[in-house]
Structure formats: structure tokens, C-alpha cells
């Protein structure tokens, strides 16, 4: 299980964290570069051309959210935010700005590697076919059909576009704001959070066997939701 050639840029001001990340990533075959500030990261990215960026939120000077917005102006390189629990609002801002996922410190290398694999795989899969399958759930994007096992599931148009957004960004953490934008467009509603949660609730009731232990639609408290795919651990994807 190695990832030959996959290039990861670590942006963190703590030398200890950089050292630990470099060691575990290199041990798994990634090639690693480091930056200790936001400014340095913005300089390094065009030259190093990383396949993935691990970005610490608590950087001095140019912060993680700003780095994300700057990078998103010209590149879709996946970004995983590294945050501590107190960064809640900054974390959401960075995700809204286009970061792909986050990890809360402290985390183990196993968790990190799984997250990196999921993110890079998702990027690689973006152009996969019109039929999405995970566990018992089948979503046929071309035929607008949703099946759970053999049974057809009836969804309202809103529920369907919500599910479609999840399928398109399978495994990606979608913030409340991103989901609202994707499903309801720019329209303004009285209480958008309420609207979103009611529809998620309905969708879960139709798709999940036990809504208290959801299998597909996972809540990230205070941040958003993600569609979790149940995939066999395959070899690492090559290239983004």
C-alpha cells in the first residue's frame, strides 16, 4: 500500500507536526515538501505542483482561510485542513472557501492516510459513470432513479437534487452553505438551515435503516454533511 510519486505539501508552523507528518507520509511512499507560513505555501505551490495540500489553520500571518481562497483562484488541488477544536468558525470559512476536508488535531497517521486516500480517490473518480453504487444504495444520475437494494425509492425533486449533490461530491464534506448553494441556488429563504435539515431528515428516513446510526449520510456537527461510500480499500490512486 504505497503511493509512488503522489506529492503532498505540508503547511504548518510547528516543526514537530511537520516532522511527524513527513515521516509517516514518506513511509507510505508519498513525496513530501514543507512550508512553514501561508506566504511560503503560496510561493511553493506553483513550483512544487503538489497533488494534495495539508493546510494548518492556525498559521501566523496569512491564515489558512486566506491561503485556501488564493489557491482556489487558479487551482483545484485538494486541500485538507488541519485544525484544533477551537478553530470552528475559521474551519467552516476555509471549507466554504473551497477546502475539501478537515482533520482535527490531534489525529493519528492512520486517520490521516485514510482521509488522504479518500480525497485523492474522489478527485480521480470525478468523471466516473452515471451510475453510483455504495452498499445497498444505487443512484442512476442519467435515469434519475434511486434504488435501495431492489426497491425503488421515491424522492421529491428537492431530496433528489440534495442526494445528487452528495453523489457528485461523494465522500467530500459539504458545508451547509455549499449544499444550500448547490441545491437551492441563490434563492433566499426565511430559514435556510431549517429547510436543509428538514430535507436531510426526510432523505435519511427514506434511505437509512436506522437514522440514529446512519450508513450513508453522515453529519459533521456544526459544519455540514458528507456521503460516505462503503468501498473496499483499493490500491492508491495514481495522479489527480
Amino acid at each position: 500500500m504505497s503511493s509512488p510519486g503522489l506529492r503532498v505539501l505540508i503547511v504548518d508552523d510547528e516543526a514537530g507536526i511537520r516532522g511527524f507528518l513527513r515521516a509517516s507520509l514518506e513511509a507510505h511512499g508519498y513525496s513530501v515538501n514543507e512550508a512553514s507560513t501561508g506566504e511560503e505555501a503560496l510561493q511553493v505551490v506553483p513550483a512544487f505542483r503538489p497533488d494534495l495540500i495539508l493546510l494548518d489553520l492556525g498559521l501566523p500571518g496569512v491564515g489558512g482561510k486566506q491561503v485556501t481562497s488564493c489557491l482556489r483562484e487558479w487551482t483545484q488541488t485538494p486541500i485538507i485542513i488541519l485544525s484544533v477544536q477551537t478553530d470552528e468558525s475559521e474551519k467552516i470559512a476555509a471549507l466554504d472557501a473551497g477546502a475539501d476536508d478537515y482533520l482535527t488535531k490531534p489525529f493519528g497517521s492512520g486517520e490521516l492516510l485514510a482521509r488522504i486516500r479518500a480525497t485523492t480517490r474522489r478527485i480521480g473518480q470525478q468523471d466516473s459513470g452515471p451510475v453510483f453504487v455504495t452498499g445497498d444504495l444505487t443512484v442512476d444520475l442519467a435515469g434519475r432513479a434511486v434504488r435501495l437494494g431492489d426497491k425503488e425509492v421515491q424522492l421529491t425533486p428537492t431530496e433528489y437534487s440534495l442526494l445528487k449533490a452528495f453523489v457528485i461530491h461523494a465522500n467530500k464534506l459539504l458545508t451547509h452553505r455549499q449544499l444550500l448553494r448547490e441545491v437551492w441556488g441563490g434563492a433566499h429563504y426565511e430559514d435556510p438551515q431549517h429547510l436543509l435539515r428538514v430535507n436531510i431528515n426526510n432523505l435519511r428516513r427514506k434511505l437509512e435503516a436506522d437514522p440514529a446510526r446512519p450508513r450513508y449520510i453522515i453529519t459533521e456537527p456544526g459544519v455540514g454533511y458528507r456521503l460516505k461510500t462503503e468501498q473496499h480499500v483499493s490500491g492508491a490512486p495514481s495522479g489527480a
Binding site: 490531534p106 431528515n201 435519511r204 453529519t219
Partner: protein, 537 residues
């Protein structure tokens, strides 16, 4: 002296007599009043009693003429003598002199041979006349002195009783406002002048009391400040700031000046009489003492609060340092062992040591997180971002966050169908549920299921976490939510004593309630109640 208004003002003193002793003292004065004419001083002029004395002398003469056949003329002198003494006792010098002289002449004219003439035939009668006059004057002089003494005593009594009631009202309160109120009330009542009281504050001297009719402007403030800084009297009737209509006096206790009192004069020359000035001096001393006492009381209270806080800090420090150092010691121990003795240890041993270190480090991380949360709660930094949430969602997130321990232990989830979305901050509420579930799992045996129940109860969302653990003793059901409080159970799992108090802090930030109950068949239920309506802010 312009301010020499004799005793006239004194009888106007109000008397606050309440005790029995004092009322008897007063009645004693009443009979003296009647005899010594201490009452209304407005009749205290030189001719007082003169007409009456004349009339008495005339009356005795008529009486004498009537009884002369029985009592011989010269003996009648004794009646005149009585009248003179009476005048002396009752009135004053002038009444005595007039009485004595008129008596002498009347006696001589009617009862001394030769009758109906002022010629004195016998030298003995002359002696009688002189005696009459002398006795009268001596008695009257004595009486005047006695009367003065009685008046002075009465003045003293008035002053003492005024001071007594003043110090009593001062002693009744330890608060600045109570003291100021007493000072204002008594001073205005006794001295009949508008007054102003100024006390120092952070921004300088400020007016704490001023009579309604008193004019206090910036100039006056300057005068008062000068008094406060120099500790000397100023204003009306003094060398400094004599243009003011208010006379300022510093309130001193020893070398310290605790405030300034100003007494306004009525006219430009109307200052206080000397005895009242003396009384005011005593009042000021008492006031200064009372204010100092109030200040000290305040400081003592603050010191007590600080001490309390200090005690809490020490408890916190003890708990934190113990809870922080214990896991840290394990981590360091493992790391040192592996660094130094790696060659002596086989791989499985190293693995197991590292697992221990990992567990301890996790414990440390969890503790730090709890401490941070506690700090946020106590610092009022918890901002509840209440959004309508699905209870399923929150429970699911909590179970997922618990990870392995939630999967390996049976957890029954019962969520009433048709629950509405409830406004809450899901990040905080997930943490509450994680803390409660973590506790429940820690204290449950492996085969006893933990339950989560959610339902509507009396217009509120009720979430219960139920276990079959040891249960909390009856008397400690409330205290378990206290910071650092832990139920004393030998061999209990390690904990910081912060988990439940954090839950309480988070739930209360939602305007909710949390309480612990004993389950009848054993175990504990922690119930969380949340309002269904979003709080209006």
C-alpha cells in the same frame, strides 16, 4: 461676635428621647423648668417679673394693713422678706431690687413710726430695710447662677441626646449610603442649614449628598477639593475662598481625609454659634470614623471574596496538576524506556508500551479540551449558535464520535416518532451527549445496556441517558454537576470531575436544564431538557 447668638437656639434642639431613663430625666427638668423659668426664653428680659413684684409688694401692704391690729407692724417685715426671696427665686436681679426697694418704702411708709411718712424713727428699722435688700440680692444672685447652670446642663443633655441618636443611626449601617443618609438627616435637622457631603471616588471628589436648596457649582467644587487636599477648613468665614456661601470642613480620621462636608450659611454673616460649631466638630469626627469603618468593611469583604476565589484556584490547580502530570508521566516513561532500552525489548512489548502511552496522551488531550471548555463557560465565551436540529442527527453524531466504545457496548436508542426540529447548537449538544454516554459506558458493566431516550415532555425536548451503573448517592445528585466534584467510589475510573459540569454549562447556555436521578431498579438517569422555542435575543 456676630455669631454670638446666646442660648436661644438651644431649646429648639429636637430631642430624640426614647429610653425610659431619658424620659424620667426630662420630667425632672419639667418641674425645674416651672420653678426656674427655664422654659420660654423669649421673656427673659430685664423687666421680667418687675410689675408682678410691685403688685406682690402692694398686696402684702394691703394684707398688712388688714392684719396689723393682730400682728404688730415691725413683724410684717418678714412677709416682705418672703416676697423678695420669692422674686429672687422666680425672676431675676431687677425684680428683686424693685421688690426690695418698693417693699422697703411701703414698709417704712405704712408700718414704721411715724406712720404715713418716709421718715425713719428707729435705727432698727433701717437695719431691717438694708437686710431686706441684701437678702434679696444675695438670693437672686444665687438663683441666677443656679439657673444658668441648669440651662447649661439642659444644653448638654440636648447635645448628648442629639449625638446619641446620631451615633446610633451611624452604627446601624455599614454601607456608605446608610451613613450618608444618617449624616444628611441629622445635620439638616440639628443645624437647620443646607449641607453637602463630598466623598472621593476614582474620578475625584464627587457630591454624594446635597440638600435641595443648596447651590453647588464648579467654583464650590474647587473649594471643596482644596479642603480635601489640604485638610483645612475653607469657604465662608475663613481666610481661604471666603467668597463662598458654604463653609467646608474636612472629614478626618487621624491623618487621613475621607471626605468633605459643607454647611451653607443663611445670610452672608450667619455662621453657627460656638456650641453648635463644637457639636458639628463632633459630628464630623463621628462621620469620618463611620466612613472609614464602612470602607474597611468593604475591603474586608473583598478580601474574603478573593480568599474564596483563591481557595477554588488552589483546588483547580491541585486537580489539574494531578490529572495532567499522571498521564504525562506515563507518556514520558514509555518514551524514555523505548529510547534507552529499545534493544532489550521485543517488538510486542514495545507495541504494548506505546499503546499505553497513546492512551495516556489521549486522556491528556481530552482533559485539556475539558479545561478549555470550562474556561469558555466560565468566561461567558460560549456562544450558542442555535439552529433547528434533528435529534436523530445529534444522537448519531455523538455515537459516531464515541467510536469504538459505542460499537462494543449495547446502546439502545429510542427516539419518539414525529419529534420536531429543536433549536440547538449541534456541536455543543453532541459534546454533551458524548460526555454523558462516556460516563454511562464507563460505569456500566459490559452486559448492561446503556439507553438513550428522546421525547417531548411538557413542551420541552427531554433527552435521557440511562445506565445500570452503581448509581449516584441520594445526597450527591446535585453536587455531581459541581466543578471537580467526583463521587467517592474506590476503584472508580479516572476522571477530571469536569465532564458533568461542562454538560451543565452547555445545557444552561441553551436555556435548558440538566438533572441526575436515581433509577428505581438501580443505575443513573441524566435528563436534559431543552426548550422547543428559539430564545429571542
Amino acid at each position: 461676635m456676630p455669631d454670638e447668638v446666646p442660648s436661644t437656639a438651644v431649646p429648639n434642639l429636637p430631642t430624640h428621647v426614647s429610653t425610659d431613663e431619658e424620659s424620667s430625666a426630662r420630667s425632672e427638668f419639667s418641674w425645674k423648668d416651672r420653678v426656674l423659668q427655664l422654659g420660654d426664653a423669649s421673656t427673659d428680659s430685664w423687666w421680667r417679673g418687675v410689675p408682678t413684684s410691685l403688685a406682690i409688694a402692694g398686696l402684702i401692704t394691703i394684707l398688712g394693713l388688714w392684719i396689723e391690729p393682730v400682728i404688730r407692724g415691725p413683724n410684717l417685715a418678714i412677709f416682705y422678706m418672703l416676697a423678695v426671696v420669692f422674686s429672687a427665686v422666680r425672676w431675676g436681679q431687677w425684680a428683686v431690687i424693685i421688690n426690695a426697694i418698693s417693699s422697703a418704702f411701703l414698709f417704712d411708709y405704712f408700718f414704721v413710726l411715724p406712720y404715713r411718712s418716709f421718715v425713719i424713727g428707729d435705727v432698727w428699722y433701717l437695719i431691717t430695710l438694708v437686710g431686706l435688700l441684701t437678702v434679696g440680692l444675695i438670693v437672686s444672685a444665687l438663683m441666677v447662677a443656679t439657673r444658668e447652670e441648669a440651662r447649661a446642663a439642659r444644653r448638654r443633655e440636648m447635645r448628648v441626646s442629639a449625638l446619641y441618636s446620631f451615633t446610633q443611626s451611624l452604627a446601624s449601617g455599614n454601607e456608605f449610603d446608610q451613613i450618608l443618609d444618617a449624616v444628611a438627616r441629622h445635620c439638616v435637622e440639628i443645624f437647620q442649614r443646607p449641607i453637602v457631603v463630598l466623598l472621593p471616588a476614582a474620578e475625584g471628589l464627587i457630591v454624594r449628598f446635597a440638600s435641595a436648596e443648596l447651590v453647588f457649582d464648579a467654583n464650590e467644587n474647587k473649594t471643596a477639593s482644596w479642603v480635601f487636599e489640604n485638610g483645612q477648613e475653607a469657604g465662608c468665614g475663613t481666610a481661604s475662598f471666603s467668597g463662598s456661601r458654604i463653609r467646608y470642613r474636612p472629614l478626618k480620621t487621624g491623618p487621613d481625609i475621607v471626605g468633605v462636608i459643607g454647611v451653607q450659611t443663611k445670610g452672608s454673616k450667619d455662621l453657627l454659634p460656638p456650641d453648635q460649631r463644637e457639636l458639628l466638630g463632633i459630628f464630623l469626627d463621628q462621620t469620618a470614623l463611620a466612613l472609614t469603618r464602612a470602607d474597611l468593611a468593604k475591603k474586608a469583604k473583598r478580601a474574603e471574596v478573593l480568599q474564596e476565589a483563591d481557595k477554588l484556584h488552589r483546588a483547580l490547580l491541585n486537580s489539574v496538576s494531578h490529572n495532567l502530570r499522571t498521564p504525562l508521566a506515563s507518556v514520558l516513561g514509555v518514551l524514555n524506556t523505548i529510547l534507552e532500552d529499545a534493544s532489550l525489548l521485543d517488538v510486542p512489548t514495545q507495541q504494548s508500551l506505546l499503546k499505553t502511552a497513546q492512551g495516556e496522551a489521549k486522556q491528556l488531550d481530552w482533559l485539556v479540551q475539558n479545561l478549555l471548555d470550562m474556561t469558555r463557560i466560565e468566561g461567558g465565551a460560549i456562544r450558542v449558535k442555535a439552529e433547528p436540529c434533528d435529534v436523530h442527527d445529534v444522537v448519531a453524531a455523538a455515537l459516531r464520535q464515541l467510536g469504538e466504545s459505542a460499537r462494543s457496548h449495547a446502546i439502545l436508542v429510542t427516539i419518539a416518532p414525529g419529534l420536531p426540529l429543536v433549536p440547538m447548537d449541534d456541536v455543543l449538544m453532541v459534546q454533551v451527549l458524548v460526555n454523558l454516554l462516556d460516563n454511562a459506558l464507563k460505569y456500566s458493566s459490559a452486559d448492561a445496556p446503556v439507553e438513550i431516550r428522546a421525547s417531548l415532555a411538557a413542551g420541552q425536548l427531554e433527552i435521557g441517558i440511562l445506565d445500570r451503573g452503581r448509581g449516584i448517592p441520594e445526597g450527591e445528585l446535585e453536587r455531581v454537576f459541581d466543578k471537580f466534584y467526583r463521587v467517592a467510589v474506590p476503584g472508580a475510573p479516572r476522571g477530571s470531575g469536569l465532564g458533568l459540569s461542562i454538560c451543565k454549562g452547555f445545557v444552561e447556555a441553551h436555556n435548558g436544564r440538566i438533572l441526575a436521578k436515581r433509577r428505581t431498579e438501580g443505575g443513573t438517569e441524566i435528563a436534559v431538557f431543552l426548550p422547543l422555542e428559539k430564545r429571542r435575543e
